[in-house]
Amino acid sequence: MEALRNKARELLAAGTVKVVIGYERGSAGAARAVFVRDAARAGSLIFDETCRQNLAVYLMKPEVRRLGKAALVAAPAALRTVLQLAAENQVQDGGLLLLAPENGGVAVLAELSAVEARVAAQDPEPGREEREELARYEAMTLEQRRDFWQEQFARCSKCYACRAACPLCYCARCTVECNQPQWIPVPAHDLGNLEWNVMRAMHLAGRCIDCGDCSRACPAGIPLHLLNRKLIAVVRGSFAFRAGRAAKSDNALSTFRPDDPEDFIR
């Protein structure tokens, strides 16, 4: 933690970056984002197991962008996010520093190639727990899954916390806010909620880097990450593609291979 604070101090004092986006201790023992712009305030930075939010979400917020060049305290998910954002031309190589805490120290990644190398070294395969969680739902009958999701979506109030918390949902005007035509119903009724959640999952297919912040943000406790994780599995299984691994790559759904599987097409 001290290494992180020292590094932040140093970067701010030298003017290398204008802001360090990191974690501080918030209310009720939670960790939360902090935007340190003054070296003297770097002492409030923390990094521990309570630091779960994917801070890369702030890279796309206009208010934060306005602060100037940033150093981002980056857990593995944030590193993958940065690569995916780079692949989507939202982040420039060298436009950002990543501070990756490691064994009491902190690695400073200035280039996207370094981020790629680190992500490759971490190779975050879904853990056993995660695989088993998905498998549990896949093992349900169709009717069980339908009932499960209908029950879940019935609790959705369309507060769009899932969208706001997602670092890859960065459109200035989301499809649900376009009304000519009104593609997704505005009201949070059952059909509107299903359509919204299908839309969200599809628009993230091949792009989601599995940070899980959508589920953590949901005030209704809907396990939205399962939808994303399912599509991550489909995209990986069918196209051998994983988002957030390379700074230069096509999106899985905006490219193709002539030999993509088509056993279901007749």
């Binding site: 896949e138 299903l194 299908v198 599809m202 091949g206 939808l227 399912k230 759904l253 993509d260 097409i265």
Partner: protein, 144 residues
């Protein structure tokens, strides 16, 4: 009990399948009349939401069909569409929506007979599955 006549909506591309369906008609081949055909410039334009809109609007089954691989009028629209279908099918299944209600096919302008067969088989399959009530009942739920 009266025989259930499924409503089927077919989203087809203009250049191959629509022409193929046309050929079915001009060849005087008979096929299930329960299908409503909606023509698109290309399968690449058939957004996944359209399929859900069809279900919400009362469709019991959906057909999506276009040019065979390498025959796309715009060279790769169907390849892109195929990827989207693969992902979308996975999502539908995961959400508990029966993917047997959604048939994907390649039907060329010369395959009038294949179109007739596709519609008939789909109608048969959807008839066996029964009305898509679980989806249709969503409409209006959750309004106080």
């Amino acid at each position: 009990m009266a025989e259930f006549d499924p409503k089927i909506v077919a989203f087809v591309c203009n250049w191959c399948t629509y022409a193929g369906a046309d050929l079915t008609g001009t060849s005087r081949m008979k096929y299930s009349p329960q299908v409503s055909v909606i023509r698109f410039p290309c399968t690449g334009r058939i957004d996944f939401m359209l399929l859900l809109k069809a279900f919400a609007g009362g469709a019991d089954g959906v057909i999506v069909s276009g040019c065979h691989p390498n025959d796309c009028h715009y060279s790769s629209g169907n390849f892109h569409a195929r990827r989207r279908w693969i992902v979308f099918r996975g999502l539908l299944d995961f959400l508990g929506i029966d993917v047997r209600r959604v048939r994907f096919s390649w039907v060329s302008a010369a395959e009038g007979a294949k179109w007739a067969q596709l519609v008939n088989e789909t109608a048969e399959q959807v008839r066996a599955l029964g009305p898509h009530r679980s989806y249709q009942r969503l409409r209006g739920l959750g309004v106080g």
